[in-house]
Assembly symmetry: none
Homo-oligomer: 201 residues x 4
DNA sequence: GATGAATGAGTATTCATTCAT
DNA sequence: GATGAATGAATACTCATTCAT
């Protein structure tokens, strides 16, 4: 990697962390360069605008999450487990666990929303292939695969984004997931353990 | 209604319209007062801050939508139709049909998101009572009623907000709705006509 | 005059002086408000932009110069003297005599040029009426009055703007002026004294 | 011509074109080097500063215009025609005819003004020799030759720069030119055709 | 000759909020 | 109830220039 490209990656990491910690709108260029210890001109040498930096940060996040998801896809696992694992690996916020102060999601709707739309776009094909495989092996049975996958993703992001879900929500979610993909009752019940395990981390 | 309260309502209507037309962040107090023809001090006499104005605008929208929804609840209708009708009446954006220029939803995530969360909070009890009635009459059959209602609302807002849904999405949505509430296949198929009808307006 | 209008006039005076002393481009808003002792917001309360301030400054200068010129027009004087006196009163830079440090004209071409164009537009009708009167009394004899007046103004601004003209230039100018307006030789020779007198100030 | 000198000339041509197309102030070094396809360091290897580039551009323009003018001076022509032809060949903007988009003259006062001053300095001796020749052959009759030549140049640049002159202006200009140089009425009337011909190009 | 990463002072503008009258 | 003058912190972005390699 060239020297310039490396520097750009560093900047990206810093911007990424600050956007998550403080929110995109609440993070000023001045703060970013102070943190990075560079001059303002240097920042603008690498990024044409703050907006572009956001775009680049989102690309970076997406790429990492998708890469992780693809590893899961490639790994040997029962279909239902694989489906759940991929969704789980895509969880926006996964990344953010390592960061101490995460801004209230209210103050970062911009980042959150952009990320979500991109994530859905990237994840639908990935998950659809799994569901298709499930259809073939008989563990799933459904049509409109892409649309159902999209629904699951929407439900996940709407339901679990804030980490304050209840047992009832999980129960209903499992049932709905099974029915959405035409699986036998109980097929997805392992999710319950997965989520609780995730919480205990 | 007192004179002061009346003026506050006028201001609210203006702010409401401008937020939708231009987006919350892109609407400045200066623009609001110019439109209203009042002095800046007058604005701050009625609203402690811009944020509070947003809150009041959202309250107003919610109230109107909930009132409309309650009328539907009170009206005599088969349960499944009533359920759908209430959800439909709550559709955020319903209000905005009368406004010429509506800002791109991207630029109004703040308003959009706040509204959505409030709407879900208000709508869940309303819809739950309908589902409960459905359970009693046997047309529905499900537990975790509130959670399932919430899911449906999440799916609706994620799927239908942008008016660019496909036939496959509608088909899948109908199937999923039936299964979520434990209804017989075909129970909710009338939705298809409802959505298309809504589009043809 | 209302309080606000008064403040605006003060600001205008300050901006005017600074533009002349330092040049338009070299004068920053920060410097203006520091000089005026006001907050940045206050500046923008009175002027929508720096460009508008320039426009307002030019208006002010033009108005004062035109007012002075109109006094001369109204005063009883022989036509040739009156013509010269009006031109002299319009001299851009007349104003600037009172200001200690005047920026090199090179650095203020913007102001200078805008002023010049406005001045010619304002002055042509005024001077034309004088020339017309001269035509009637027989002291002048020319057609294309407006065009000739414009020429004289162009010559003046091109020749005398920098105060470093020579005796030969004055001699030629007098001759040309007489011929432009079809006056008898010697009619305008008093100008020589006028210019030298002006210089001695 | 050495390789380095050649590259400098190329750069100059690019800067020249961009200054005219976009205005001096609106053209950034970044844009110049992007157009030229060179690195920033390379630019500064050839030019010590942007200001110096402007100076060099102006030199180049002047040289070309003066060279053209000198050809006219050397060609066999009646004196009055030669005088007019030289002035016409010096017209700033002559060069710019070949360039598609030329910035509004308002936005390029800096270039325009510098060029004008330089042009007058270069042209006065050239034209004076013609007028002197005219004095000797009797077609002209005037003193203060340099000063009168300067006046004509000032009038031309002030009157004809924007290509929107009227018939009256041309008529007056011809008359004034004749009188400035003490020529017989009608001597310069051919100018009328020259200007109209120039326009028809 | 040539590169391109780094600089940092400079700039205009926005806008929610306050408060004396 | 109503006014509007005053505030000032905040902010993104520009750009000519330098210099180690």
């Amino acid at each position: 990697m060239k020297k310039g490209e490396q520097r750009k990656q560093e900047l990206l990491k810093i911007a990424y962390r600050m956007f998550i910690e403080k929110g995109y709108d609440n993070t000023s260029i001045d703060e970013i360069i102070a943190e990075a210890g560079i001059a303002k001109g240097t920042y603008y040498y690498y990024f044409p605008s703050k907006e572009d930096t956001l775009e680049a940060v989102i690309d970076m996040m997406i790429n990492e999450e998708v890469a992780r998801a693809k590893e899961v896809v490639a790994s040997p696992m029962p279909i239902p487990q694989k489906l759940a694992a991929v969704i789980y690996s895509l969880r926006p916020g996964q990344e953010e666990q390592n960061i101490a102060k995460v801004v209230e999601s209210n103050e970062n709707i911009v980042l959150h929303d952009k990320l979500n739309k991109r994530l859905i776009a990237e994840a639908v094909p990935l998950l659809s292939s799994i569901v298709r495989e499930g259809n073939e092996t008989g563990v799933f049975n459904c049509e409109q695969i892409e649309e159902r996958v999209k629904m699951i993703l929407i439900i996940c992001s709407g339901l679990f984004d804030e980490d304050d879900f209840t047992e009832n929500e999980v129960t209903a979610f499992i049932d709905v997931t099974e029915k959405i993909f035409g699986a036998q009752p109980g097929t997805m019940s392992f999710i319950s353990g997965l989520i609780l395990g995730g919480l205990e981390q």
